[in-house]
């Protein structure tokens, strides 16, 4: 029996004559204990989907059931089951200390401070916030604020946890730490987690299933181990001097999964998606042989939908 069931979820924003279809008929079921990643580029509709599930945004159409009950009609029941860390670093009270924030979020769930005391210290320990227990949240680092926000959601002790872009804006070290916390501490508690991210590594590392969305629609809904190839894909932007002739362009196109050229005034940007990051050396080899001067290399976000569709086509 699915603990979260979302059918034909649609959200259309109308603003001064402009119509924006943020979410376009999304349906999925999530079983208890599943950890599902909602993967998509910025603006794909991840946040709107999660906020509809939390009843913070009214859907235009569709039905959402949390533990078999309609979220719109029984929102208070839903909030017994659901806690959420929403996008951004301002889910917590900046003028309150670590401990005060945790107490407040426990209180919002109706827990008394005395009963929850032990749990607060346990979470403070787990999240490495012991030294900052009486520090106001605004004086914490961005990473610590995010850890505190997650701890505040956990203190509510709900079966379901929504994490909207939990690693957005964090440095590499903290990103890894947050991923480890989700994987090793939170998932062990048997919670059902829906995590949204535009970062493939986070989803691959933490989730057992991925829902890829693009432009408000579901592109894929697969178990992680069935789409292992997908997560190996890397994309880089090579900035090179001058124009590139069509022959070389063809050569490069044939060798890699996805290639795009952007001709600029005095240089060319080549965005290459490859199945394996080791293939980066092949690109360098080609550039070297053709005497093309390399100006820079950058890791960029791959086009999830395109890659997924290409990989599916290849399998067939």
């Amino acid at each position: 029996m699915a603990i979260i069931s979302c059918k034909d979820l649609t959200k259309v924003y109308k603003n001064q004559g402009q119509v924006v279809q943020a979410v376009d008929g999304i349906s999925f079921d999530i079983e208890p204990g599943e950890i599902v990643g909602l993967l998509g580029p910025n603006g794909a509709g991840k946040t709107t989907t999660i906020k509809c599930l939390c009843r913070l945004i009214n859907p235009t159409r569709g039905k959402i059931l949390i533990d078999s009950r309609d979220v719109v009609r029984h929102s208070n029941f839903a909030f017994e089951k659901v806690s959420a860390v929403l996008e951004g670093n301002r889910n917590i009270y900046w003028r309150m200390s670590t401990k005060e924030n945790l107490r407040l979020f426990a209180g919002l769930q109706g827990f008394s401070g005395k009963v929850i005391k032990e749990k607060i210290y346990e979470l403070i320990d787990t999240f490495g916030l012991k030294e900052k227990i009486n520090t106001e949240a605004r004086f914490l680092s961005r990473g610590m604020q995010q850890k505190l926000a997650i701890a505040c959601a956990l203190i509510k002790d709900t079966d379901i946890l929504f994490l909207d872009e939990p690693t957005l804006g964090l440095d590499v070290e903290t990103t890894i730490e947050v991923r480890r916390l989700i994987r090793e501490k939170i998932s062990k508690q048997g919670k059902t987690i829906l995590l949204s991210s535009h970062n493939m590594n986070v989803v691959e590392d933490v989730c057992s299933r991925v829902i890829i969305i693009n432009k408000g629609k579901i592109v894929a809904d697969e178990k992680i181990d069935r789409v292992k190839e997908f997560f190996k894909v890397n994309a880089y932007r090579f900035e090179v001097e001058g124009d590139i002739n069509n022959k070389i362009k063809r050569d490069i196109k044939n060798k890699f999964l996805g290639v795009k050229f952007f001709d600029k005034e005095t240089k060319t940007d080549i965005v290459i998606e490859m199945r394996d990051s080791m293939k980066i050396y092949e690109v360098l080899e080609i550039l070297k042989c053709r005497n093309i001067k390399l100006l820079g290399i950058q890791n960029v976000e791959p086009d999830f939908e395109e890659i997924y569709l290409k990989l599916v086509k290849d399998e067939k």
Binding site: W94, R95, S112
Partner: protein, 260 residues
Amino acid sequence: MRSRNWNLFKTIFIKEWISLKRYPFNTVSGIITVYMVFLLFFLGYKFVGGSQPSFGRTTEGFVVGFFIWTYSISAYSILAWGIIQEARSGTLEQLYMTPLGYERVAIYTVIANFIWSLVWVIPVLVLMMITTGKFLHFDLITLVPLLVFTISSGYGIGFITAGLGLIFKKIQSFFQILQFIFVGFIVAPIDKLPVLKILPFSLGTKLIARNMMDKIPIYKMPPGELLILIVNAVFYTVVGFSVFKLCEKVAKDKGLLGHY
């Protein structure tokens, strides 16, 4: 369920206290600003030597009027600003996600507000009494219920402003102006024009003045007047909260609850 409610109330009560404590500048500057405005009016009145002070028939009346004004803008602005501030910062969405319902959060916020407002309403009142040399009568049994019903309308207006603030972003100037419109409500000549009793604060201020100046206890006040006061309070609170709920629906439709 009852103890969960109590826990939620305690949580909101402490939350309001912490925000008062952590923004001491706002509290202190609030006290100073209101006191300066008072001084300006009071000294102006004295110098001109007019027989018609702006806030009622005597200096005492003037102090009572200012006391109610201080309390009303405190109630109104802390509520309205608080909600809008939380929408901006993202914490409002978290408040909405309580299983006990946001309505309860709102009610408890109002109660906490009403009590914590005293932290700066009382100092202003004491300063005013020292400045004028007129010490007013304090009968809490009469004063507390009259204040509750008088200030309620301020919360009603606060909810309307907060609701509009969720949807329309440039509403700040409207906030400021409204605080001065309150003065008009407080000094409304309800003796000459009884229909003005329907305004917020007008009748309540008069009844409170009767108690603080003439020492008339609540049980000796005309029941008809008290009834009008209660109906007035309920009306503004219900209308205010209903408008807020309507705005909340629009905000949820447009996805504005957490996007300032």
